[in-house]
């Protein structure tokens, strides 16, 4: 298994109370597959995203990626892990406003030893013609495609997407999903999509349903449909 999560627990202190954002969560992901994580607000989706991405630390439990226990990593090791293994796609794109489209993607490419050609990736996500523009000059759909290009250009093993279609209109959202599917096929990247939109789970290989920090369901999808056919 490419990603192994064992008894993962994360507790946040909110005022005087302890909130268990993740409570003894365990699952396994294979390499090169698409997974969706669904659940209501506060179910622990983003916490799981953060820990898998090396952005946050667990209080208990272990996470193995490519047989390396990332939960034991130091701050610097986590930075290297994010650099070499993970690409992120956020709901509000999180592009660097002071950099052009090309520079945003380049800022990610320069970190990786196996990066892809920036121009080719921009062409792939269909924003090459906008490469000299700044993020605020683009539509939301275009910005999200740039964000995907930035995640992909490092040629990462894992692409973590937190509500990648949450801020987009239907057409733009569909284009983004198709793009993620395309990336998965071309680069054999494991893709994890966190979403409120249950319809997206139709294009994934498996779906984890979280509630109150616990895995309530792990459903393998034997009738996976192409992203193009996903509707809501």
């Amino acid at each position: 298994m490419f990603i192994v999560v064992e008894n993962l627990t994360r507790i946040y202190k909110v005022g005087a109370n302890n909130v268990r954002a993740l409570d003894d969560v365990s699952f396994e992901f294979e390499k090169g597959k698409i997974y969706t994580v669904v659940g209501p607000s506060g179910s622990g989706k983003t916490t799981l995203f953060n820990i898998l991405g090396g952005l946050d630390r667990a209080d208990r439990g272990r996470v193995f990626v490519d047989s390396k226990e990332i939960t034991k990593f130091s701050k610097n090791e986590l930075a290297l892990y994010r650099r070499d293994y993970v690409g992120f796609v956020f709901q509000f794109y999180n592009l660097i406003n002071g950099l052009t489209v090309y520079e945003n993607v380049l800022s990610s490419a320069v970190l990786s030893k196996n990066s892809l050609d920036v121009d080719k990736v921009l062409k792939m996500v269909d924003v090459y013609s906008e490469k000299d523009k700044f993020p605020f000059e683009l539509s939301g759909g275009q910005q999200q495609r740039v964000a995907i290009a930035r995640a992909v250009v490092k040629n990462p093993s894992i692409i973590l997407c937190d509500e990648p279609t949450g801020a987009l209109d239907y057409e733009s959202a569909k284009l983004v999903l198709e793009l993620l599917e395309n990336v998965n096929k071309r680069f054999n990247a494991t893709i994890l999509i966190i979403t409120h939109n249950l319809a997206i789970s139709n294009m994934s290989d498996a779906t984890i349903r979280l509630r109150s920090g616990r895995v309530v369901e792990f459903i393998e999808n034997h009738n996976k449909v192409p992203a193009k056919e996903v509707t809501w």
């Binding site: 991405g53 930075a79 993970v86 992120f88 406003n97 002071g98 520079e103 970190l111 490092k154 801020a167």
Partner: protein
């Protein structure tokens, strides 16, 4: 690395804000470079000048010619006589000296030493009256050719009378010519002027010796000579104020930069978090953001230092001309330029680093979510403000929650107020002093000082309306400063003294001292003060009867009969006369004659020269206030863009929004101004007491309502201008753009 471009782009995006901070740094560097280089230049030139030209250690005037050899051998001194005569015509006075050979040698900066029929003129008088070398100048009906410009080491501050405040080259100048020529224009020299060089150990016995043998009329040691010490005091006060003023501006810009950087980085929370999520390390990200303070420092300090360095050349010339100090050598110290460049760097880089480092203590998740959201739960509720109307409630809460920003605004306004009040009050103080001293207190029109103290039975003044007076110079017990005590007539019509309430004080009610003297001695009415006569060293204890409201001078007044009795003079003795009309006094008896109208005109005229420095101070304080208010208000708008958009969407008018977000600034401005007024009084008193510590002049700077109103008008105009500039920013915020930034 491509992310290195981020800081440059941020600066271009927020150019007004960063330009303002760059300007603050530039002002700080410029102020330091300008003042320190000028002071070094003046200081080193001054030292070289007084050494090369052999500046005197003192001078004295006698009625009879002294035995120079006797004095030189007995007191181990170098003594040289110098002839001196004042020549007045058309409201202009030229004091002509003979050229000395050993002490106070003239320095000719342009032209040549004068031959027979030639004359040297001081540079300020020369410039003011647009003379050229080779021009002819008429003195006592004789023509002299101007052979050059010269400087005297004992006339660095060219004032006519010892008690004058400011030089006035329009009405007074000095000149030098050969002794033979001088003797042709002044046939009679009623007194003898000597300069000495050497360490006079027992001044009292020297004075007593000279007085007994040749009749000492005046003795001035180097440290008491205002024409020398004024320049030293002014250089010293500029030296002392350079660093604090520059440091304060640097400190202010650093604090503002800290606030701006913190806000800016907080606003970029998601972008920085994203850089981490991409795999950038702490070091790489901090390095990138440290470029912001580095750019600000480099641009500001290089621009400011170079400007200060360039400006130091004309400024030194202006300053030097004010003192009549020649260029003996060129001094442009590169070390000061480097300090001007690197000093702001220490503060700016530290504040930038602290601002960044604080943010980088957050976790990546906190960065991605934003600090405001995280801190929101910690914000004070301030429920006591809920009783106000919605708009006022929001305004007060914004102010209280952004306490640091408002505090910087208050400090900035205080600083600008102090700077401006100082300028305005200095001008008022001089004009007030002139009005009070020469118009209200001293009602005589002419003052004559004779060359001896006696009953002067040989003189007949019956046809004139005159009042005799007497005076003696004293020093305090510890020799800290000098006091002149006058003996005047009871119920004098020429010298009128008033108390603080404006009630007339008569000298028959006891010994009266001036207000500055009382302040310096810390003396109150009824208290005894101990004084030592500067001529014979005798000690006296005098009880202070009243304190007169005279703003200038360390002086005391008493009834002339009492004066003669206490200090051992024959009944009816006097040294001078106050008069309403010109009095004919034989030249050989006259030591000095002063026309009060001429003095008032001269002083008022010279007060105009203060105008320039006041305008500069006003401009600097207004620019500082403008920059500080603009940066802080602009920052509030930038970080509240989203809220402004939402408030606009809800239907609030721009004016209402402006009030809610920035309304508290007006209170901070008012607080800053109100605190600035008493603080200006305090700092000005400190400044003046240290500046006049070693002089016979004491100026008290009073805050007049005119200065307060003037200061308020300038600062309020600055405040309104900055508000106008910021208000345009509010107008530019479109609700639709805010929504687009969130959701497409």
């Amino acid at each position: 690395m491509v992310i290195k471009r981020i800081p440059k782009r941020i600066m271009l995006r927020e150019k007004a804000q960063f330009l303002s901070i760059v300007l603050l740094v530039a002002i700080a560097s410029m102020a330091y470079a300008l003042f320190s280089i000028t002071v070094r230049n003046i200081d080193e030139n001054y030292k070289a000048f007084i050494e090369n030209q052999n500046q005197e250690d003192g001078n004295f005037i006698t009625s009879l010619p002294v035995d120079i050899k006797y004095l030189e051998s007995k007191y181990n001194l170098k003594v040289e006589e110098r002839l001196m005569v004042d020549y007045s015509e058309d409201n202009k006075t030229i004091r002509v000296f003979s050229i000395s050979k050993q002490i106070n040698k003239p320095f000719v900066s342009l032209g040549n030493m004068p031959h027979k029929g030639e004359i040297l003129i001081d540079p300020n008088f020369f410039k003011k009256h647009q003379y050229k070398i080779g021009d002819t100048i008429k003195i006592a009906n004789k023509n002299f050719i101007i052979s050059g410009i010269f400087y005297l080491p004992d006339y660095i501050y060219i004032i006519k009378n010892d008690q004058d405040f400011l030089p006035d080259s329009e009405h007074f100048g000095i000149a030098a010519m050969n002794e033979e020529d001088l003797k042709t224009i002044a046939k009679v020299f009623p007194y003898h002027y000597y300069m000495f060089k050497g360490n006079l150990k027992d001044i009292d016995s020297f004075k007593s010796d000279v007085n007994q043998k040749w009749g000492l009329l005046k003795f001035v040691s180097r440290s008491e000579n205002p024409r020398i010490t004024f320049a030293e005091i002014k250089i010293d006060s500029v030296k002392r104020s350079t660093l604090p003023i520059s440091l304060f501006v640097i400190f202010m810009s650093s604090v503002i930069l800290f606030i701006v950087m913190r806000r800016l980085i907080n606003n970029m929370h998601a972008e920085i978090g994203t850089l981490y999520s991409l795999g950038y390390s702490d070091k790489e990200v901090i390095k990138v953001f440290m470029h912001l303070p580095i750019y600000i420092w480099l641009i500001g300090s290089i621009f400011g230092s170079v400007l200060g360095f360039i400006e130091a050349i004309p400024f030194s010339t202006f300053f030097r001309a004010y003192f009549a100090l020649p260029v003996v050598k060129n001094v442009y110290p590169i070390s000061e330029l480097f300090i001007a460049m690197f000093l702001p760097g220490v503060f700016i880089l530290s504040s930038g680093y602290v601002a960044i480092k604080r943010f980088f203590k957050l976790t990546i998740v906190e960065m991605l979510h934003g600090v405001d959201e995280i801190k929101f739960n910690k914000l004070p509720r301030l429920s006591f403000l809920d009783k106000f109307s919605f708009q006022n409630r929001i305004m007060f809460k914004y102010g209280v929650r952004h306490f640091a920003r408002e505090a910087v605004l208050v400090v900035g306004v205080i600083f600008s107020t102090i700077l401006l009040m100082y300028g305005l009050s200095a001008k008022n103080a001089v004009i007030d002093a002139i009005n009070k001293v020469y118009e209200k207190n001293f009602e005589y029109k002419y003052m004559y000082i004779l060359n001896s103290i006696s009953t002067h039975t040989e003189l007949n003044f019956k046809k004139y309306k005159v009042e005799p007076f007497n005076f003696q110079a004293f020093e305090t017990k510890n020799g800290n400063f000098n006091i002149v005590i006058y003996g005047i007539e009871k119920n004098s019509n020429m010298v009128k003294l008033f108390d603080e309430r404006g009630a007339r004080i008569e000298v028959n009610s006891g010994f009266v001292i001036t207000r500055p003297l009382a302040q310096k001695l810390n003396a109150k009415e009824g208290q005894e003060i101990e004084l030592k006569n500067k001529f014979d060293g005798k000690k006296y204890k005098l009880k202070v009867g009243k304190i007169a409201d005279i703003p200038v001078g360390n002086q005391g007044f008493m009834d002339i009969n009492e004066f003669n009795k206490i200090f051992g003079f024959e009944k009816g003795s006097f040294i001078g006369l106050y008069s309403d009309t010109p009095v004919q006094i034989p030249k050989q008896m006259l030591f000095d004659a002063q026309d009060k109208n001429y003095m008032i005109e001269t002083l008022k005229g010279s007060a105009v020269t203060l105008q320039k420095s006041i305008e500069v101070l006003g401009l600097i304080s207004a620019i500082l206030a403008l920059l500080i208010i603009y940066v802080l208000s602009g920052l509030a708008i930038t970080e509240n863009k989203k809220n402004i958009g939402i408030l606009k969407m809800l239907g609030f008018k721009e004016k209402q929004i402006f009030k809610m977000i920035l309304g508290f600034n007006s209170y901070s401005f008012a607080i800053g101004f109100l605190l600035g007024i008493p603080l200006s009084k305090f700092t000005m008193n400190q400044l003046m007491s240290s500046a006049t510590k070693n002089t016979d002049i004491s100026l008290t700077l009073d805050l007049s309502w005119q200065s307060v109103v003037g200061c308020f008008v300038v600062l309020a105009a600055t405040y309104i201008l900055s508000r106008y500039l910021v208000r345009r920013k509010v107008a530019k915020v479109m609700p639709v753009d805010i929504l687009k930034e969130q959701i497409d």
